[in-house]
Subunit: 224 residues, 2 copies
């Protein structure tokens, strides 16, 4: 027989999953807007962000109720605390997608720069990180979580390379400064999206094992 | 007679307060490093960040134990959930201070730019926001929380102005591009610090009133 708390936790997981899908879609619209130079796709980001913000409040309320009504212990409590953090990360990822859509909107009003292609490839990796982090959460898949952590290094390196190239562009041609700044902001927001996906992967590891791998440390938590 | 949970909550509040002070110090060293052009002050930021990260893990563990052992309800539970979020914000503020110290270190190797003065004034406001948010938390002061929200608009406006000026610098003089990019990153990190202080102020309001004022909405929570 299923425990009442399992039923509630499954409901909560389903909401987080829908929220994660809305984040993926927001990032997709924002970055495809850049690649396809299509302002219509950018407009859709706000719709997704509204949805993400509504989920954010809903998840916090569900967690509060669940703790108050079920007095969860050990593994269940760890899962709920992980969900509270994942919820906060997903909400910020929605903000980042929104920021990207605004940076891209600014950029589309200026001369195209070839560096946009590097950013498109960076966006591809970040979107995979977001998908993988959510899949790792749903399946409690530790191997996939660790892959997300590794992908983050790729994104950080891509951002450094993009910054260097854009600085060269700006040094050579003052008329390209504004477009280059827009792209720098896009690449910085993508890097931050990758950081949040990494946080989610770390929370999945914590929820499943009780191991806190943040700050390079291994704090073993309670086992259920 | 004091309840056991009040004793535990006070302990938790004291840790969060020490953590907040470490964040204030980290931001102070990072920004004074810019103003005084002193790399020695920048080095201290890492020490504070290590301390902040240790507090971060400690607070999460304390919250987990408190929920598991005391089964808190209503106002107590709301306070613990607020602390979990404030903890996450403070940890990221430590990261932001660290980012600023790295950006400033890069900047100090280049020609000084007059725009550094605007950033010094922006840093002043952000530090006040951090202090006020922590004081609002300690005193459960809603008026002070609302003042933090208002100060955030000032910081956002200062960041926009700084960006515009730095873009003009870069357009006119290619040799200043790298220093200007460093300062843009400092001002962007300061803006994010202000956002986190705002989150803390919102959490103080939530913990005290049960009102969720995020995303412009008013979700009334349980009253104790």
């Amino acid at each position: 027989m299923q425990r009442q708390i399992d039923h509630e936790l499954n409901k909560l997981r389903a909401v987080i999953l829908s929220m994660g899908q809305a984040v993926e879609s927001a990032v997709e619209e924002a970055t495809e807007g850049l690649i396809e130079r299509d302002p219509e796709r950018l407009k859709k980001v706000r719709e997704y962000e509204d949805r993400i913000n509504a989920y954010h409040l809903e998840v916090d309320e569900l967690c509060l109720k669940l703790i108050a009504q079920q007095s969860p212990l050990a593994a269940d409590l760890r899962m709920i605390l992980a969900i509270i953090k994942i919820n906060a990360d997903l909400e910020r990822m929605g903000d980042q997608a929104m920021n990207i859509s605004l940076n891209v909107r600014d950029y589309l009003g200026k001369d195209p720069l070839p560096e946009a292609a590097t950013i498109a490839s960076m966006a591809h990796t970040v979107r995979k990180m977001v998908r993988d982090a959510m899949e790792a959460f749903v399946k409690a898949d530790l191997t996939l979580s660790e892959q997300v952590l590794l992908q983050d290094d790729v994104v950080d390196e891509a951002k450094r390379t993009t910054f260097k190239r854009l600085i060269e562009v700006m040094k050579k041609d003052g008329t390209q400064v504004e477009g280059a700044v827009d792209l720098m902001l896009v690449s910085r927001n993508l890097e931050r999206l990758g950081d949040h996906a990494t946080n989610i992967a770390e929370d999945v590891i914590f929820a499943s094992t009780g191991k806190d791998i943040r700050h390079g440390g291994f704090h073993s938590g309670q086992k259920s």
